[in-house]
Amino acid sequence: MAKPKLAVFKFASCDGCQLTLLDCEDELLALADRIDIAYFLEATSRIDGGPYDLSLVDGSITTAEDVERIREVRARSKRLVTIGACATAGGIQALRNARDHAEMLSYVYARPEWVDALATSTAIARHVEVDFELRGCPISKQQLLEVISAFLHGRRPAVKSHATCLECKMKGHVCVVVAKGVPCLGPVTHDGCGALCPGWARGCYGCFGPSDAPQTSTLSRYYLAKGARPGQMKRLFSSFNADAEAFREEASRHGDD
C-alpha cells in the first residue's frame, strides 16, 4: 500500500508552527516511515503536485493571491488541517482588521504603495472548508503528533477544547488569579499549552484562543471590578487570537486608556 501523502503549506505566518513538525526529532523518523512528505518547502525542495491525503496549513490569508492559492490547496487535499493562531484566527497580523489599514501601512513602510495586501488578515476557515483546526501560538508538538496519528488511523484527535484551567489544576499549579491577583485568561482559553504561563506564576495570555464555551464578558467584568483597567482588558484580548470571534468581540467592548 502506498504511503499517505502529507503536504505542508505556508501563508502569512512566522513559520513557527510548521517548524514544530521538524522539532518532532524523536518521532520524525517514525513519521517519515508512515507518510510520504510530498510537499514541505521548509524541509525539502521536492515538489509533488498532489493530490495529498493530508495537508497542514500554517498562516493566514492576507493577499488576493492567498485567496486563490488556498482554494487550489483545498482542491488538491483530501483532508485539510489548519495549524496555529494565524491559520485558525488570523494571527497577530489580524490586529489590523479593527484599524485603518492604509494608515498602518504608512507608519510601517517607507513606500506603502509597494505593498499589495488585503486590509484584513483572516483565518483559513473563512475561505475554504477545514477538517480540523489545531490551535496555538505556537501549536503544541504533542497535539500535532496526535492530530497526524488520528488522521493516519481514521479516528478523532484527542484534543480538548475546554478551558486551560483544567490542565493548570492537573499540573498542580497555584492559581495566579486567586493567590496573586494577576488577571489570567486561562478560564476562557482553549486547552493545549499545558498551562505554561501559570506554571511560571504568570497569567495566561490566551495563545490558544477561545475555549469552546468562553465566558469572556463575565471574566472581564470580574477583573475590572478587581481593579483592572479597560485598556488592559482590551490588550489582553487583542493578541495572537485577536480575530477569533469571542476575543474580538470582548476586545471591542473596552476602550483604550
Binding site: 496519528s149 478551558a163 483544567l166 498542580g172 497555584v174 486561562g186 478560564p187 463575565t218
Partner: protein, 379 residues
Amino acid sequence: MQASAGGRMRIDVNGLDVLLRALADEGHELVGPRVQDGAIVLGPIRGVEDLPRGVGDEQTPGRYRLRARGDDALFGYAVPQHSFKKELLLPRVTLVRIRRGKTGAVVEAPPRPDRKVAFVGMRACEIAAVEVQDRVLRDGPWMDADYAARREQVFVLAVQCGAPSGTCFCVSMGTGPKAEAGFDLALTELLAPEHAFVVEVGTEAGRRILARVPRREATAEEEEAAARVVCDAAARMGRTMDTTNIRDLMMSNLEHPRWEDVAERCLGCANCTLACPTCFCTDVEDTTDLSGDEATRTRRWDSCFTFDFAYLHGGGVRPSLRGRYRQWLTHKVATWHDQFGTSGCVGCGRCITWCPVGIDITEEVAAIRATSATAERGG
C-alpha cells in the same frame, strides 16, 4: 503533673521529625505541606525542616494569601488548593495499553501501583473526603482498581485543625474540625507552654511506628489544651451552611431564578470541581501512536463544568452554564445522598477560595433557601 486519663502520648518537635523519618524508613513516601509559589501545597517532604513553619493563610472567596503567623506553628494553616485526592485519584493514569503482536493484539494492563505513602497533616475534612471517594471508587459496584490499590497503602498522619480559614464550614457538614477516626495517628499541635504534639493512636500500624519515637504520656493539662484547640477551631468557622432538608430543598427548586443569576457570574472553568476533594469525574481518552502499532487508554480528570463532558450523540446534554452549575451543586449536596448515602460536600471551602471569581457554594444554597418556592426553608 497528672498523667492523662486517655493514655495519650506527647511528643516534641524533634519527636515529630523522628516520626517522619521512621515513616520514611519503613518505605513511605511522605506527602505533606510546604510553601511553594506563594501558597501552601501538598508535596514531597523529608522532615520537619520542609514544613511551613510560622506560615498561615487567609482565605476568602476567590482570594488566597499567605501570612506570617508570628509563631512557630508547623500546621498553622487551613487547607491547601489541592487535597490528597491528587495522590489517590491521579490527574492522569494509563488504564490499558494494546500492542499489535505477531499473532494478534497484546493487552498490557498497567502494573498495579505499589507506593507506600504517608499523608502528613491530613485534616478531618480531608479524611471525610477520602471516605466519600472510597464509597464511590472503592466500595461501590464499580471499583477503580488503581484508586483501590493506592488507597490500601496509605498511612494517615492526621493533624487536628487549629486554624480554619474564612471559607471553612466543616462544622455545618459534620465532618470536623476534629477527626475521630480514619487515621493511623492524629496529632494536635500545642504552641505553649512548649511546642509539642499530643498524639492519638488510631490503628495498630500507628502504635507500632509511635513506639520508635521518644515520647511520654501527655499530662491532663496537655490533653485539655489539645481539646481546646479543636474546640476553638469549631467556633471560628468562616462560613456555615444550613443543611436542613437540603436534598428536597434543592430538588424542589430546579427552576429557581438563582440558577440564572449564578450562570451570569460563573466561568464554567471547572476549578471548583478540580479543587474539590470529593469530585471524582473523569474522562477516558483513547490514542494511538504514529505507527498504529500501539493504542493507549488514559483516564484523566474531567468536570461536569466542561462543555463536552455530557456529550452524547449529537451534542451536549447540558449546553447552558445554568444547567452545568445546577448539575454540580444539586449533585454535590442533594442527589449525592440518593446515590451514595452521604453529602458530596465536606465543607472544606476549596471551591469557594479557588473559584477565580469567588462564587460561594454556601451563599448559593442560602439564596435558594431564602427564596425557596416551597416550604423547605429549614431552620
